[in-house]
Amino acid sequence: MTSSYRASAGIMLAPAVTLIGVFVVIPMLLTVWLSFQDWSTQTPFSSVRFIGIDNFREIFGPTSIGRDFKGALVNTAIYTGLSVVLILPLSVLFGLLVYQRDVGGGTALRTVLFSTYMVPMIAVALVWSKLYAPTEGPINQMFSLAGVGPQPWLSSPRSALISIVFLNVWQQVGYFTVLAIAGLTQIPGSLYEAATLDGASRTEQFRFITLPLLRRTLLFSAVIAIINAVQVFEPVALITQGGPVGSTNVLTFHIRRVGIERAQGGLGSAMAVMLMLALIMVVCALFAFMNRRDSE
């Protein structure tokens, strides 16, 4: 079918390739190009003025532009790191709970866990802003039943970011649990049988069979979790507006504020380029780390 279907291939690919080309690939290249220009988002692309790496100097410089961007970069890194560190172990634990056959109800648990992933983030943000309410909020109410004093949650710069991490983990963990279950089903049962015959305890089986064989799944989960985490926007836009005192100012929110609301398209694009580079570096580092452990 090599040559006679070349025309067909072109027709079949044209819609998807054109759409993704025009609305994803070209804008991505434009972002890179705009990051070297002085450009207002309110004006046509033709009004750009080339300024070399000035935008990058500025976003890493000592002025308020630099401070805000570096703050957003750090906040995003913390937010992403905490999300991954919480989501991955929980997804394995919950995956084991769903997958085990000693106690029934695994599938029901999976349904409950995964349903949160269907909820629009904006609704998640609205609900959790009420759950976190200082006095009448259910979380502090339950804390007080347990004898713990009220926590400030979203209203203190020390706890606002982690509070948003919690709602993110709540929303996403079901998806990653399903990924973990997919990984668990790939592990041959005969390995566990052999280990049991050799007298290995369950802890040992988990440590030496389950975890090593879940490594590929966990790597995939980590990459997806990182990419999801840098997209956090709704809770910040809706509840905290980046505050208190910049503690929840994350990159997606900050780039949109600079590039769209303040129309500083060149600066915003430079920030977007840095985000892209940071993501590529982190994902490459993850893969390199896994490969090194594979070869050991």
């Binding site: 079949m12 993704i20 609305f23 692309f45 709970l97 409950v112 609704a123 399903v178 990924l179 590039g259």
Partner: protein
């Protein structure tokens, strides 16, 4: 699962079961609590919302909060806009993904690997990276502040192409060749012969796309700036923000949230089998 038949005494096994059961219950409660609380709170009267210690279950469930929401935002209009955005986008994604997935699965052509890699690469690109120029591109073709501007850039996506390629690869070549011998056109083969044999994957993709675009916030917010007539429900909800302070309006805010959550959640409950299967296959086969 065989590993759990390990070396445990009878008492050990009972203890193990009790531990697992308790953990499962705790996880389920923690996971379900926010949504249950949302629905219960939407049925409370303002007086009940204010009470301390809180009333967990409303004594006289009332729909008052839902009526009040329709006074603040145009609920039916917003829901209609969301439906339009989600269903037109989904239809587009299905067609473009099936066509491209078929090409990648069944044709050999020069540059196939390169084009596929570039397309798949876009799957990992956070939308914020392209947001600023895309906003300008849509503006320059005159689609700013319109539903068309929200929909157009999303009519194709890499995840759909990837998923369709995975499943269409599994369709036997003989089936396709037989239809070709009969003189069927390639598009006819795709939609009449290939599509039915990958129906579960198409259903899964449809659901994913619908829920994703029902829920999507950043892009509509950016494109629609100011045109409240075109707001989908998730954007209209942010208008309830000013009612977000103090307990008195909790019911109102939760009623709005419930309205936005209901369509994707109902779809999920009825069709979750497809969701889960396709996630598993995208992870395992990928």
């Amino acid at each position: 699962m065989s590993n759990l038949g390990g070396r445990l005494s009878r008492r050990g096994l009972m203890g193990h079961k009790a531990l697992v059961g308790t953990l499962m219950l705790l996880v389920a409660v923690a996971s379900a609590f926010p949504l249950i609380w949302m629905v219960l709170s939407s049925l409370k009267t303002p007086a009940e919302s204010m009470q301390i210690p809180p009333v967990w279950i409303p004594r006289t469930p009332s729909l008052e909060a839902y009526e009040k929401v329709s006074g603040v935002i145009n609920v039916s209009r917003s829901m209609w806009n969301s439906l339009l955005i989600a269903s037109i986008t989904t239809a587009g994604i299905l067609v473009t993904s099936m066509m491209a997935g078929y090409a990648f699965a069944k044709y050999r052509f020069r540059g196939r690997t390169l084009v596929f890699s570039v397309l798949i690469g876009t799957m990992f690109l956070p939308p914020i990276v392209t947001l600023i120029p895309l906003y300008r591109v849509i503006g320059s073709i005159g689609l700013n502040a319109s539903l068309a501007g929200v929909i157009l850039p999303n009519l194709a996506n890499a995840f759909g192409i990837f998923l369709m390629r995975q499943f269409i690869s599994g369709v036997p070549d003989d089936l396709i060749d037989a239809a070709r011998v009969d003189g069927a056109s390639e598009l006819l083969i795709l939609f009449k012969i290939v599509a039915p044999s990958v129906a579960p994957a198409i259903a899964a993709l449809a659901l994913f796309a619908f829920v994703y675009h029902w829920n999507s916030y950043l892009w509509p917010l950016t494109v629609l700036q100011g045109n409240a007539n075109a707001y989908p429900i998730v954007i209209s909800l942010s208008r309830l923000l000013s009612y977000n302070r103090g307990a008195i309006n909790t019911g109102l805010v939760m009623a709005g949230a419930t309205l936005a959550v209901l369509p994707p959640l109902v779809l999920f409950v009825f069709l979750q089998r497809f969701f889960v299967d396709s996630i598993v296959s995208s992870a395992v086969k990928g």
